[in-house]
Symmetry: C2
Subunit: 506 residues, 2 copies
């Protein structure tokens, strides 16, 4: 017997259904009765129009599958389109031009080391091994344009960051969208997923969507049931902007933390995927950026100064004028270090001179002029003036810079272990300074998936038939700490693989 159907309950339900009554049960039931009739039918439905969603759409549609892409917000691209556009790649012409020796194995090592070995080693290997062909695919097939320079981002052991000429993730999102448009696929904005339909055999068979949904207005839009004959693919991103959900997983991340995320980075799909039995792993690993400017809303743009100017060729000090961390450590190490300084009542300040801005200006021309004009970075003729303005002891600041300059000359940082090869000592002004304060940025954990994106069931630990996922909605690639520039790589590589698998394996 084990589990019995209760005939009385079924008959009762039937009577209620006949009377047109929708029981409250529907809101909590972990499976949902599938519609008797579908409003629309397609092969693959993709939820989300960021890096993962659009590359999944390319992968799926290239097999000949019929694909629908849904986006709950009024515009496409989610966090991806406001992303910095810096992508990790291995074996690029940009690395070759700077004689950078790199390999998939070295990238995989960096990912595991920074991820505290909490990563799924199979995913790490897969992503690292595609860090070269992913770059080529973007350039050759999608038509993405990258700058000729390479950047050095926190946690990586060599420079690997290639940057879109657009200077943001839109430089990838827009070409992907144009590529899909030629194939007749246009993401449907304002389409909110209200229900994932998982049938009595455990298969995901479609979605209930609200068309014309207005974000933040519950119940808005017209309900529509769309059937997916092959698969539903979840690429809904993270929940960094959802204070209630994130603080349930990490109680530190209350509303006092701002976020770099767009307002739609909320948890609805996390809850819905969990409701139908999607297994979540490592969701408590929520990354804060170290280097955001508290004067800006959201991600802003002057974080580039913290990372690529002061972090790569300058110095980070607290308002006692002292270095307190490896300026190019991984994000967790640096964000935690800043929180410790803030806990002492101090501020974290990125400091550099004009010469240190050269590398960034090569990638983002006009950056410094704009930031100074916007009053987001401040300029000083002397370190004395800078120190006075930030109420820090000038002598200590000068001593910290002199010490770091010595490390630049030696090519070794015995204080914090920063990689300081080929860096010029900071001697002449003008000097620049900007405060940095952590913001909630990236969800490392998420749905447990196989290499080809199949979502595991909480109960059986086996794939849920018809359900795939990729990108920030999933866990395992990054472990405890995602390295900067690895989000785009992960989303594109795993997204394309999952889209292809969803269309061919269903």
């Amino acid at each position: 017997m084990t589990v019995q159907l209760s005939r009385r309950n079924i008959l009762k339900s039937t009577a209620l259904a006949a009377a047109g009554f929708i029981p409250a049960a529907a809101a909590i039931a972990q499976t949902t009765k599938i519609p008797s009739q579908w409003d629309e039918t397609t092969d693959i439905i993709i939820v989300g129009s960021g890096f993962a969603g659009l590359s999944a759409a390319v992968g799926a549609s290239n097999t000949g599958a019929k694909v629908i892409v849904l986006e709950k917000m009024p515009t496409i691209g989610g966090n991806s389109v406001i992303n910095a556009g810096d992508m990790c790649a291995v074996g690029t012409p940009q690395q070759a031009a700077k004689n950078v020796k790199d390999s998939p194995e070295l990238l995989a090592q960096d990912m595991l080391r920074n991820g505290l070995f909490l990563n799924d080693p199979k995913k790490v290997k897969f992503v690292a091994e595609h860090a070269n062909d992913n770059y080529k695919w973007l350039v050759d097939e999608i038509g993405v344009e990258f700058m000729p320079v390479v950047g050095f981002t926190g946690g990586h052991s060599v420079p690997r960051a290639v940057t879109t000429t657009a200077g943001s993730g839109s430089g990838i999102i827009m070409p992907l969208a144009a590529y899909l448009k030629k194939k007749g696929i246009e993401p449907r904005t304002r389409n909110y997923v209200e229900r994932i339909y998982r049938d009595d055999n455990g298969r995901v068979v479609g979605l209930c969507v609200r068309e014309g949904y207005r974000f933040g207005k519950e119940g808005s839009g017209r309900p529509k049931n769309i059937q997916a004959t092959k698969a539903v693919l979840l690429a809904h991103g993270g929940f960094g902007a959802d204070v209630k959900y994130r603080s349930l997983l990490d109680p530190k991340l209350t509303e006092i933390f701002k976020t770099t995320n767009q307002p739609g980075a909320t948890s609805e799909m996390w809850k819905e995927a969990a409701r139908i039995g999607g297994m979540m792993i490592q969701s408590d690993w929520i990354q804060c950026t170290p280097w955001n400017n508290p004067l800006e809303k959201g991600m802003g743009y002057t974080w580039n100064f913290g990372q690529y100017v002061a972090g790569e060729a300058g110095i980070w000090v607290n308002t006692e004028g002292k270095r307190f961390v490896n300026e190019n450590a991984n994000r967790k190490v640096r964000a935690d270090a800043i929180l410790v300084e803030q806990g002492k009542g101090l501020k974290a300040v990125a400091v550099a001179n004009k010469a240190a801005t050269a590398s960034l200006e090569g990638r983002r021309p006009g950056f410094m002029d704009k930031a100074l004009k916007d009053n987001l970075i401040k300029q000083y003729d002397s370190l004395d003036a800078l120190a006075a303005d930030w109420k820090m002891p000038a002598d200590t600041l000068k001593a910290s810079i002199a010490q770091l300059n010595g490390y630049f000359k030696d090519g070794k940082d015995p204080q914090f272990g920063r990689i300081v090869k080929d860096l010029k000592p900071m001697e002449e002004g003008p000097w620049y300074a900007m405060e940095m304060s952590p913001k909630v940025h990236h969800c490392m954990g998420g749905l447990a998936t196989t290499i080809d994106g199949k979502v595991l069931d909480v109960s059986t630990l086996e794939p849920i038939p018809g359900l795939y996922a990729a990108g920030e909605a999933t866990g395992g690639t990054h472990g405890a700490v995602r390295m900067g520039t690895n989000a785009i790589l992960d989303c594109l590589v795993m997204g394309r693989a999952a889209g292809t698998a969803a269309a061919t394996q269903g």
Copy 2:
């Protein structure tokens, strides 16, 4: 419309049910049809007979509720009964006798600091505030006997560990079981929970149990449906012995790691609680002990030497003869440090002289004699003999001990920050040594619950009516790192509170 009942499906199900057919769907459906008839009815069903389960049974039954306690293994007590019996308590006579100044606030600070502030601050406060009355309750009402001494355990800032005279957790489990027996409650062993019934209104209403179940023999035992008119309370413990489940959450913890846990510490109830919509948080935080003896199976008993002799009054060295960690840091810090040494091809060795054993012998008389006789700890007349046997340089070992002796005299350890007050320098032999190697020990994460033990739903983040949980099955009290001795405290305090709430609020 949002979600529609499909009349055709319902009629089909009805026809199948009438024909006595149990659909395969039952195995994966996230809700389960409740039985048309129950085999037994009670107020509260408690799953698990460890510290949390039995204290919940006391809490519930003291309100007058009818309680059933289920245990899948042939004997009661799970990991609790093989636990060390060292419990965190504040304001005890044992602390007073040693003039230890302590407070709930100090305990809460220690828990948050070691937990990396990933803990739920409300749970921390609740547990810390009951660390005194919990001790009194055990002594005065349950009849537990504690030794007159107090121990100093890793991560705590003052000595707080009181130890049962039985020298293990059985010194608490047996009196709790005797207390319950007087009230007519005896845990039912070999009762495996196959299904949690959650009805169409979202309420948990009972369980399908296999009576006479034999652990490891799937499908054994006779199915029985038990109704809980008030609540089901989950106190099923952790999954430390379940390699597949734990390595899905933390891929490092493969079969190469042994475990201190009893064989029944597996994931069946984790999967079943998740299947019906129980929200899991922080399950990837799985603690390894630092100090287990690799010569012993499971927990063994000689870890006491690593913690309470060498950790409290001796030294930990690697096989280069060098100290490598604060011997009384929290478990994660020490376990990770040992793994680093092992990664270099070295071993971690606990070393102490006879004088250092005094405190432990006060609590576990005869311990050293037994361990030496069992060949689990080795004795040497001189440090030269010890060093030779462990293939470590004697000079380095002697220098490390001399340096630490200096710290003991100064009352300060500038090398690793260990608290070294009131410790005698190690001068005379005989000397003892034992290897230590991490084993999987405790699951910090688990079901998200309110202070009174209500389990949250993954979809609504609100309590699931009729479902409670406590103990290692839950997350939030310990955050990233559980301090030694805090498991008993957490399980008893939260178990009793949840049992009381389940019986009075239902």
